[in-house]
Amino acid sequence: MAFARIWHMLGGGRRRRPTSAQVFRQAQRLRDDGRFEDAAELVADALIREPDSVVGHLLAGSLHMTLRETGQARTSFERVLALEPTQPRALLGLARIALEDGETVACRDLLSRALARYPDFPEARALLDVARGLSVAPEPKRPATPAATAVPAPAPTPIAAPAAAPAARAVPTATTRPEPATAAKELPPAERLRLPSESREALFMRPDATLVFAEPRGPRTEAVAARAVKLARIATAVLARAGFGPLRHAVIEGAAETTYLRTDDAALLTLAFDRDVTAATAISHLERVWGTYRSELA
């Protein structure tokens, strides 16, 4: 008993403070359990004690990404690279952020650096394939060029369209402001551009994001078209990695509306509908509008 008291007085009975490595392991366990905020708090505390920990900053970056705190994630990954310039996970993390921000060249550079050091890095290779595809696309500001390629007949796809198409409305020409004059001649006649009355937004573009038609059209329309093309390319990469063919249809449910997408090698159409429009109705409209536009462009 006396020995135990002396041992306690000397500090032997005091719980040792966990090492940073132990804290990071605990944070990783919390992360795996989905307790992201708790994990981030632990990591932040440990990094105060060990500010040059590559593992700690990597974990912090990963947690920030999970919490959708992109700016803080970028800072963490940059800190890792300052400590270890070829750290592959930090390079990948920064490349992902660059891709999100539309900085395709920076994304490619970061991934190339990672692959130069670690050639067997499948995640980096997959993202680089996507980034390369995006980088060859001209800027969406380019004026439309005449459609010179023949258009193949749409292939049957898993999202089958009902046979009958519901009523459509003619597009008001006042809101159909075509791109430069060179593009105007190739636009389908306004009376043939029949959009469903339920449609909130329609975009028709080429694979290089050149806008052919938009209804309604606003200052951000071209940016939205470019994002749609980017989305289609990433989706095609996902499908390819899953062993499937290229993207043909998409249904994207949002908070207030659902966007339906139809595409092939030569064009991309999106129609947005309120959530209360049924999928069958929306897909029926999509197929009819797609057929009309494609025949106009052929």
Binding site: E123, P156, P158, I234, A255
Partner: protein
Amino acid sequence: MSAAAVATARPALGRDIRALLGELMKLDHITGGLVVAPDGLVIAADLPREVEAEPLSALAATLGRELELRGPQLRRGTFPMAQFASVSGSAFLGSTPVGFILLLGEPQADNDTVRGALRAAVGTVYRAWAR
């Protein structure tokens, strides 16, 4: 398994993301699935042997983030579900606070059923994480 079965699952299921993926894998003509964190790290995966998890998860997370950031039409982090279809199969993607759920389906899969089940699963995760 029906969409209703996922919808009525106990909230605890939303915390156990692997179990939730297991339930979704029981849907007819679903051949694979994974759950990936927004940074691209795999949380859980049940994929056909010929499909590599890491590159697919990296791309799925990229696609999910692109959808979250898509624009004024979609508020950040609020796209619940999307389907991307080719002639040979579909990828279904759901967004949750934990990350993204990806399901791979054969062309014969009932798209409405799968979308409904995934939508319900996403809701289950949100409810569990809100506690």
